[in-house]
């Protein structure tokens, strides 16, 4: 059924259609609307039987999900940013225990300085946690990916993170096609746990493992992720046959045929990039885009195949490997090894900085001439940065960076150094 609704609402309804049995969450912007909606459905009895647990922290939220999942319940939680980092220890634990928890990450920057707006630093900080990580481009895809996430996680006995851009998607009203309960029931079988806590057949889960088997356990975690690479396209195809639309998968290409320049990105920024590609194509530029839906496991072969014909690759990423460059581009470069082409890392949109069509167009034109730096910070205010660098050279105790910069641009009352 077509409806106009907020992204968070769409996701909450999609999760409800998956019949979760335990939902727990701790509020953090921009995730709040999702769990509020689910809480309301449980309280009103429209989502039943389901336990909604109001926990005291994200660490507890993931821990409740771990207990519930191990006891055989379909479990869901959602978080973002500081919340995801606060639960980090339990995030790794959930995948180590092989529990198919589904979690929405409403992507947001990580402080300090505290910032509630969108970038991908939070989810990418968990890139090695052993979760499957899917990134939605728009609200329809966010909704669809949740349904696929339960199916996938439960088949593989692995947790799945569905990442959607905070505010940009979570708080945007868009038209979505909401599936029916019958469709979801046809797609998603009942959760049959691989291992379950049951007095009739007691098992010990979470034993201590020494050097004699730990490596093997970790290898098997990797092997399971590799299995996901095959399963995901198959489930996406099956999804298409039931729900009538393409959604999910590993990667998707946009006007990449004969493209000399391919822009790689994840999440909602792909929409803007596609617009720019269209405009530049109209002017005769050979440019295309490659969207990455699956970040973990990283679809090396798919990315490699998608980029093989290009002369250069520009990775636009909303995250940063401090001290190196980009996280996504490091992964993309692994796929490119042996292919001779120029690779550019563009760090953009951190902490919600707008990524405009104008800036992207200028950037791509520069890339086409191969005059781009290998690591570029899109729309960075160099004057602000340099002023602070000078200040730090002059006074050892020149005050906190963020506050100084705000003072420079007049957001905070002046106190001169």
């Amino acid at each position: 059924m077509l409806k106009q609704c907020e992204g968070s609402r769409a996701v909450a309804e999609a999760v409800a259609l998956c019949r979760p049995e335990v939902v727990c969450a701790y509020p953090i912007s921009p995730q709040t609307h999702i769990v509020e909606a689910l809480g309301e459905m449980v309280k009103a009895g429209t989502l039943s039987p389901c336990e909604f647990i109001n926990v005291e922290s994200e660490f507890a939220a993931m821990s409740v999900a771990i207990g519930a999942s191990a006891a055989g319940a379909r479990s869901y939680t959602a978080t973002a940013s500081q919340g995801l980092l606060f639960m980090a220890e339990a995030v790794f634990n959930a995948s180590g225990l092989g529990l198919p928890i589904v979690m929405t990450v409403a992507n947001r920057a990580i402080g300090a300085p505290i910032n509630i707006w969108n970038d991908h630093s939070d989810a990418l900080a968990m890139r090695d946690a052993g979760w499957i990580q899917l990134f939605a481009e728009n609200n329809q895809e966010a909704l669809d990916l949740h349904i696929q996430a339960f199916r996938l996680g439960e088949e593989l006995s692995l947790p799945v993170m569905v990442c959607m851009d905070g505010f940009i998607l979570t708080h945007a009203y868009e038209r979505v096609d909401m599936p029916t309960q019958e469709q979801v029931d046809a797609y998603l079988p009942k959760y049959e746990p691989r291992q379950v806590l049951d007095p009739a057949e007691p098992v010990s889960i979470g034993a201590m493992v020494g050097p004699e088997a730990f490596m093997e356990v970790r290898y098997l975690a990797h092997a399971k992720q590799m299995e996901a690479l095959k399963l995901i396209p198959a489930y996406a195809a099956e999804f298409c046959s039931i729900f009538g639309r393409d959604s999910g998968g590993l990667t998707h290409t946009y006007r990449c045929e004969d493209a000399e320049t391919i822009v790689v990105a994840m999440g909602s920024v792909l929409g803007t990039i596609k617009d720019v590609v269209d405009e530049m194509r109209a002017q005769g530029h050979k440019i295309g885009a490659l969207g990455i839906t699956l970040f973990r496991p990283f679809p090396l072969e798919g990315v490699r195949a998608g980029l093989a014909g290009a002369k250069r690759v520009v990775v636009i990423e909303k995250s940063m490997a401090v001290g190196l460059g980009g996280i996504l581009s490091t992964n993309v470069r692994m796929a490119l090894s042996g292919l001779h082409m120029h690779g550019y890392t563009v760090i953009a949109g951190l902490g919600g900085r707008a990524i405009t069509k104008k800036s992207l167009t200028e950037l791509f034109l520069k890339a086409e001439k191969d005059t781009l730096e290998h690591v570029t910070f899109l729309d960075l205010d160099w004057a602000m940065v340099n002023k602070q660098l000078e200040r730090e050279k002059a006074h050892r105790r020149c005050g906190p960076v963020a506050e100084n910069l705000l003072r420079d641009i007049g957001v905070v009352a002046a106190r001169n150094y």
């Binding site: 049995e21 335990v22 727990c24 039987p49 389901c50 336990e51 647990i53 109001n54 926990v55 005291e56 922290s57 660490f59 507890a60 939220a61 993931m62 821990s63 409740v64 999900a65 771990i66 207990g67 519930a68 999942s69 191990a70 006891a71 055989g72 319940a73 479990s75 220890e89 339990a90 634990n93 225990l97 806590l197 049951d198 007095p199 057949e201 007691p202 098992v203 010990s204 889960i205 979470g206 034993a207 201590m208 493992v209 020494g210 088997a213």
Partner: protein
């Protein structure tokens, strides 16, 4: 197998596991059909109070529920000595996740079971969470308090050995004042753990007004079993805090574990009582009141209070803590 009477020649009601008592009054461990929830072969130290306490507590919980228990366990000695892969001592469904999240994991299990019951997919099963004093009073305290506040249907058992034993005897917030640990060494003008009142989680649990809070020691195993049984009569959050001496950490002989637990109780340093909905209901009476020195002297962790010089002031302060417990929890009357 039906109950087999065994003939013993000892007299009295409190000998050999109370086998001379009528069957319904016998301790769980005295029964031929005891559950053996944690079986032998685990790697606890000789004389480990925690192994003993856990065995009695979980067996009693199993008896009270007809074997329908799921356990969550925090990281710590109990977890490590009972489950070195590929072996496990647990004969119950058992889950270890992390050091600080056991109460929340148990909440999740209980929530799942509630839904499964509602769907008619599973019969009634009870949840027991367990952790050491570190996992309970320190790192896991947030999750524990959350579980109390929501009144989740979980019995949480803290095995208090007064320190972080699994990582090599470091201080916890349940370490008594003046005790020596590897992070509160017997050095300086006030050797050992700094003075303070410590963090006594049973009192904090009572402040949450949960249905049932009790303390116990491995010196009174009948009392311990009775408290587990009582706890299982309630639904909602319940808390049982068991003093489990640790020969390694306390510097005592393996055969002194029970004696140490008894001295902790008889001096008043560890009050043994029960509370319901935030109010104290009973206390186990001190039968032979003893000065705290009797408890402190045999333990190497308090050795610096007696030599090279006698630290009368520190001992007096510990005595004051014991006296306060005796007053506060009415330990002489045994209400």
């Amino acid at each position: 197998m039906s109950y087999q009477p065994i003939k013993f020649y000892q007299t009295g009601t409190f000998t050999v596991g109370n086998r001379l008592l009528p069957p319904e009054q016998r301790s769980v461990q005295a029964q031929v059909k005891r559950y053996n929830s944690i079986n032998s072969g685990h790697r606890a130290c000789q004389g480990c109070g925690e192994a003993l306490g856990a065995r009695y507590a979980i067996d009693a919980a199993m008896e009270a529920t007809n074997g329908r228990v799921i356990c969550a366990n925090a990281t710590g000695c109990l977890e490590v000595f009972s489950t070195p892969y590929p072996e496990t001592s647990w004969q119950v469904p058992w889950l270890h996740s992390l050091f600080g999240n056991t109460a929340a994991v148990a909440t999740g299990i209980a929530a799942a079971l509630k839904v499964k019951m509602h769907k008619g997919e599973r019969r009634h099963i009870r949840v027991v969470a367990q952790g050491g004093d570190g996992g309970t009073t320190d790192i896991g305290f947030g999750c524990l308090s959350g579980m109390f506040e929501r009144n989740d249907d979980v019995l949480y058992i803290c095995y208090d050995n007064n320190g972080y034993m699994n990582t090599g005897v470091q201080r916890s917030s349940a370490t008594p004042p003046a005790a020596r640990t590897t992070t509160t060494p017997a050095a300086g003008p006030e050797p050992g753990n700094p003075f303070g009142q410590g963090k006594f989680v049973p009192a904090i649990a009572m402040a949450h007004e949960i249905p049932y809070v009790a303390t116990a020691t491995v010196a009174d195993l009948r009392d311990l079993e009775a408290k587990v049984r009582r706890a299982m009569e309630f639904h909602g959050a319940r808390y049982l805090h068991i003093l489990v001496p640790c020969p390694l950490g306390w510097g005592t002989q393996p055969n002194e574990t029970i004696k140490m637990a008894r001295l902790a109780k008889e001096t008043g340093l560890f009050p043994v009582f029960e509370a319901e909905y935030g109010e104290q209901k009973s206390a186990l009476a001190i039968r032979h009141p003893l000065p705290v020195e009797e408890y402190l002297k045999p333990q190497k962790r308090f050795a610096h209070l007696f030599a090279p010089k006698l630290r009368t002031e520190a001992i007096a302060r510990l005595q004051a803590l014991a006296d306060r417990n005796i007053r506060k929890y009415k330990l002489l009357e045994g209400m």
